[in-house]
């Protein structure tokens, strides 16, 4: 059982880091706003994306079969994995058959979800993450803290220290260009010596049987083109019906993720390289359970842009690692707690219900409503923290007794202003750690309403 608030308290203990993390992500959010407002048809694109995803999910079985048929026609080998373990077994089997000892991997949240790296490393296969941010966190033995910006929680100095240790760079040199060049030189060697490349999938087109990968570093292209063996791992929700639908998503994805008009590389893989092999592994891993959920079915529409994280006031101030789920932020709180409620029961509460995530979501997922309903589901399943549950019970009891409620309010208005700060801001008052209590009003709302003191 994880506790987001406990993890977050470790992150916010470093006040300076919390503030620049908050500001860095808000900067990305503002870039997203400018990019989205630069095209007048933005809202129409969001609506199109919502329609495409909803239609695809309603006909998912048909599109999966169409995709498999068209990909097979192009010589691609398509595999289906029921869960994470089967995905890892399929990948390992392909690699073993080809005698692969080194694999270059471009960013794939699915392989993080399946814990592919440790699985392959246990089998003696070296795995190199080639996305710069992913490589940094891999060298530090940490999980990514953001799905688009995996090392956003780190400063230049942290990266420099990591590279001194692992890549032999100059100590104390924090120049981003120098550090990037050092990583590039090391990765170039890995690309040339690896026998296989594994990429994630942003979109899989049923009509053509090909997959599309969006990156800014070109690492997916290198990984898929230099070695003769290319494996693409995808969650089954990545399917889109037609090639023409792709343009809706490519326009939305980059603008929502980083505020760019388009990612630097939008690579289409429709067959293996000459003399090589291409495999696609389609993974369920509890995705199909969302299709039967009245409240959470739209969570499968996610295109992993990370916009909900960049805007979330809780995520920005608590960091990605505090979520303890492979995907942090609002969408991660839904996916994590719906899949494994016992393990991630605190996540739906890591939310102020401000609705900003829903406002920026490019595919119109009702994130705040889902988080709210997940709280109720957790309550019904008796999976809420004991203290929280007791507080809720006391509040419910008090609120059903109007006379007692009024009396308690009156007492609080009388006593609280007279209490010294040492009592008011005690250890138990977590709310008051960074905030002052508001000034107590003289009358309750009910009294003001009765006396006609409220504006219309």
């Amino acid at each position: 059982m994880s506790s987001h608030s406990e993890n977050a308290s470790k992150f916010v203990a470093n006040d300076e880091r919390m503030h620049w993390h908050d500001q860095a992500l808000w900067f990305v959010r503002e870039k997203r706003d400018r990019a989205s407002k630069s095209i007048p048809e933005w809202e129409q694109l969001r609506e199109f994306a919502n329609q495409i995803k909803t239609h695809t999910m309603a006909n998912l079985d048909t599109y999966l079969l169409e995709f498999e048929k068209n990909a097979t026609k192009k010589g691609i080998k398509v595999h289906f994995a029921f869960d994470a373990l089967e995905h890892n077994q399929i990948v390992a089997k392909i690699l073993k058959e080809k005698g692969v000892t080194k694999l270059v991997k471009s960013k794939s949240m699915l392989t993080e979800e399946c814990h592919l790296n440790p699985y392959l490393e246990n089998l003696g296969i070296e795995v190199i993450d080639t996305d710069l941010g992913e490589r940094i966190v891999q060298l530090r033995n940490e999980p990514p803290s953001h799905i688009v910006l995996p090392a956003i929680h780190l400063k230049k100095s942290d990266v420099s220290d990591t590279f001194v240790e692992h890549l032999g760079t100059e100590k104390g040199n924090y120049d981003p260009t120098y550090l990037t060049r050092a990583a590039r030189a090391a990765l170039r060697e890995d690309f040339l010596t690896a026998q296989a490349g594994l990429t994630g999938v942003n979109f899989a087109i049923a009509q053509t049987g090909g997959v599309v990968v969006c990156t800014n570093e070109g690492n997916a292209d290198m990984g898929a083109s230099v070695p003769k063996l290319h494996i693409a791992s995808m969650g089954m929700e990545k399917i889109i019906p037609r090639l023409q639908d792709l343009s809706v998503f490519t326009r939305l994805l980059a603008r929502s993720a980083t505020g760019q008009p388009i990612t630097s590389y939008t690579s289409h893989f429709h067959t293996a390289v000459e003399g090589g092999e291409m495999h696609i592994v389609i993974v369920d891993n509890k995705r199909s359970q969302f299709l039967s959920s009245t409240k959470n079915k739209k969570a499968l529409n996610c295109i992993r842009c990370g916009a909900c994280m960049n805007t979330c006031p809780v995520y920005r101030r608590s960091g990605g690692h505090s979520y303890e789920y492979v995907i942090p932020g609002p969408i991660g709180s839904i996916l994590g707690s719906a899949r494994e409620p016992q393990l991630h029961n605190s996540l739906p509460f890591a939310c102020t219900l401000c609705g900003s995530c829903t406002n920026v979501c490019p595919v119109k997922i009702d994130l705040d409503s889902q988080l709210y309903s997940l709280r109720q589901d957790l309550g019904s399943a008796d999976l809420i923290d004991g203290k929280k549950k007791m507080a809720m019970k006391v509040t419910a009891w008090l609120m059903t007794k109007p006379a007692l409620f009024d009396f308690a309010g009156k007492m609080a208005r009388f006593i609280v202003p007279k209490l010294p700060n040492s009592i008011l801001y005690n250890k138990a008052n977590i709310w008051g750690k960074q905030r002052d209590l508001p000034k107590m009003p003289e009358k309750s709302f009910k009294e003001m309403f009765k006396d006609g003191e409220l504006d219309d």
């Binding site: 909803t54 239609h55 079969l65 029921f82």
Partner: protein, 126 residues
């Protein structure tokens, strides 16, 4: 049952997502310009009147057609003139050539006449 069959079975049995139509992208992103009105002022009465895009284009076309007709006529006239001149020149050249030829023949006749007269007088002298 294979994983593929199991996944498809799960989807088919549990899917409650209500289908919607895929979007139609006809004319999407194409901005049709507003029907701009153009103001035209009559050169005679100075009265201003407005015509829409299509009407303006039609008027422009008519103006162009009129100018084009005038230009075409002018060019045809010039071509005709050039043709006549060319024929005249060719006739003159032919006439000159014939006259030259005639003069040469006359010269030859005179020479031959003189020669035969000389030969005759030489024969008579002997």
């Amino acid at each position: 049952m294979t994983s593929k069959e199991l996944i498809l079975k799960n989807i088919r049995e549990n899917n409650i997502v209500k289908d919607v139509k895929l979007p139609n992208y006809d004319n999407f992103g194409i901005k049709i310009s507003e029907n701009k009105m153009n103001e035209i002022i009559c050169p005679n009465c100075k009265k201003a009147f407005k015509v829409d895009e299509a009407g303006f284009a039609e008027i422009l076309k008519q103006v162009r057609d009129h100018q084009f007709g005038e230009e075409l006529e002018k060019r045809l006239h010039l071509a005709e003139k050039e043709k006549i001149n060319a024929v005249k020149l060719a006739e003159a050249n032919l006439k000159n050539a014939l006259q030259e030829d005639l003069a040469q023949k006359d010269k030859q006749i005179i020479e031959l006449k003189a020669k035969s007269e000389r030969e005759l007088s030489e024969k008579l002298a002997t």
